[in-house]
């Protein structure tokens, strides 16, 4: 069954994607019950710096209310609570870059940051790059034009790392860009073509 059998915009309709997301979210909740037992130390909830579970995050320009465990990583919240599954989890150990998102325009591994730490900051994921009208971000357009990825599991991480790097260094040489996005791995070992696509994205960004 192809995705577009159930167009995502259908009012009240369930797309295949929504069904999958719903199942993922339900699974995450039901299997995580043991995590809610209280910690050994009885925390004084009125102490300075104590945190709430119901928080508001600024994700892709929207204010999102979400119930977040204190030990929850941003990648978990984005994928399993907010349905933003474009952010991938590869290693969950800061060692691959698949989970890269922008926090206040700076690339971070979302698997290695507490969601609470991102409160009050501007979070941008791969879903937030295209314009509201659906026009792709120049770096995404670069991928459409040059391809470069094989399985593309690493793609959103590479794109986010590149978008973040270009904000500081909009006119990089190929070597500088390679250094700038060296915190991302590709299991298909497609680096040369990925760099070509990202360089194209850089060029399109300068023209945009």
């Amino acid at each position: 069954m192809a995705d577009n059998d159930f167009p995502e915009g259908t009012p009240k309709g369930w797309s295949r994607r929504d069904v999958i997301k719903g199942v993922i979210a339900a699974g995450a909740v039901s299997s995580a019950g043991y995590l809610f037992r209280s910690s050994v130390v009885r925390a004084d909830v009125s102490a300075p710096g104590s945190v709430e579970r119901l928080i508001t995050l600024n994700v892709n320009g929207q204010q999102r209310r979400v119930d977040v465990m204190k030990q929850e990583t941003l990648a978990t919240t984005l994928r399993y609570k907010l349905g933003l599954t474009g952010t991938k989890l590869g290693c969950d150990r800061s060692e691959c870059g698949a989970c890269t998102v922008l926090i206040d325009d700076v690339p971070h591994y979302s698997c290695s940051m507490l969601t609470h730490t991102a409160r009050g900051k501007k979070i941008v994921t791969i879903e937030g790059l295209a314009s509201a009208e659906g026009k792709l971000h120049p770096v995404q357009q670069g991928v459409v034009e040059e391809q470069g990825f094989q399985c593309a599991f690493c793609m959103s991480g590479f794109i986010m790392a590149t978008v973040g790097f270009l904000k500081v260094n909009p006119n990089p040489t190929r070597t500088e860009l390679a250094h700038g996005i060296s915190g991302n791995l590709c299991r298909c070992q497609d680096y040369d073509k990925i760099l070509t696509a990202m360089m194209r994205g850089a060029e399109l960004s300068r023209r945009a």
Binding site: Q71, V106, P107, S182
Partner: protein, 338 residues
């Protein structure tokens, strides 16, 4: 290989907004509290369930712990300043290029964007037996699994081992020692300032800790005096992959030359012992000598005196010797370009 295992076990989280509140929380929860800067050393421990603190004090909201300020002719760097901020700071680059180079060679861009200098110097050993939860000396047991006949110990210590053979993995630590940096530490009782060299401790002092910090202590800042501003610097890190990987050995030196002679010099290395090692004997031996191949050779030989390799890390002995040699003779080769 890391396994993606759902979510970390529960802990109580505090995000204080001021240094005072952070210090207050650390005093209140003592041994139960874990200080978190960027969290990049922290999360592995928690995800793997090897360390299970019940309280995490996340410093990310404490604004007065970040930033780089002029102090005397030198700088004061807040403990929460990220490695990227240090790399991009023009004064660090211009006057204390040694720290610039060391910070730029840490891990990966995203890790530098989040990892703090305070966390980098306070990070724990990377011995996989220890980090895998084996009950070794460092974890309170009575054996070192990395020092048994069949142990895999290619990354381990060649100097100063005492029961535990783990090494200090920090790249910025030797640079800070060479620059004669000072660490500013606060706890409920007040503030103290210690030399970077004395901040790091080996197993002979306390086998379960890497630094002098005790429960309740907060590193608030690192001060770089102007003593070595604009000196000739050499930093070299040898690692397996050019991104992510910790140093097998690194070397940091700051030197002032006059008329072809070594007027003053400081050299520190890491990845060879449980603490970064300042090579004081080498500094004393080369001071006043001409900066040439003979002096460099002598320095290299002196640096490896007393080295005791394990089964798989013998290569670190010539590696250390050669890096120390280069830190004196090969400064031009080290000019690092981004």
């Amino acid at each position: 290989m890391a396994i993606v295992r759902d979510i970390m076990p529960a802990f109580e989280l505090f995000q204080p907004a001021t240094t005072d509140d952070a210090v207050g929380l650390l005093a209140k929860y003592g041994r139960d509290a874990w200080v978190m800067g960027g969290g990049l050393d922290t999360f592995d421990w928690l995800k793997d369930r090897i360390k299970r603190p019940s309280v995490v004090v996340d410093l990310s909201q404490v604004n007065d712990l970040t930033g780089i300020r002029p102090m005397g002719g030198g700088l004061e760097i807040g403990a929460l300043t990220t490695l990227t901020e240090i790399v991009r700071n023009p004064v660090v680059k211009e006057k204390f290029g040694l720290l610039h180079q060391a910070a730029e060679l840490v891990a990966s861009p995203q890790i530098r964007n989040q990892g703090t200098i305070g966390g980098n110097v306070s990070q724990d050993a990377r011995c996989w037996y220890y980090r895998g939860g084996w009950k070794c000396y460092r974890a309170g047991g009575n054996i070192c699994f990395a020092d048994t006949p069949s142990a895999i110990n290619r990354e381990h210590a060649i100097l100063d081992a005492d029961r535990c053979v783990a090494v200090n993995p920090s790249d910025t630590a030797p640079a800070l020692i060479a620059l004669e940096a000072q660490m500013v530490i606060r706890n409920r009782k007040g503030e103290r300032v210690v030399e970077a060299e004395d901040y790091f401790i080996g197993p002979a002092t306390d086998i379960t800790r890497m630094t002098i910090l005790k429960p309740g202590d907060l590193l608030t800042a690192i001060r770089i005096p102007d003593k070595w501003a604009g000196a000739t610097f050499y930093f070299e890190k040898v690692r397996d992959r050019q991104v992510w990987d910790f140093p097998l050995v690194n070397v940091a030196s700051a030197a002032v030359y006059s008329g072809g002679n070594i007027e003053r010099i400081r050299i520190a290395v890491n990845g060879v012992a449980a603490h970064p090692v300042r090579l004081k004997a080498v500094e004393d031996a080369v001071r006043g000598k001409p900066r040439n191949a003979a002096t460099a050779d002598m320095a290299g030989q002196l640096a490896i005196q007393g080295a005791e390799p394990l089964r798989y890390n013998g290569y670190k002995v010539p590696l250390l010797r050669n890096l120390v040699k280069r830190s004196i003779r090969g400064v031009e080769e080290a000019t690092w370009a981004s």
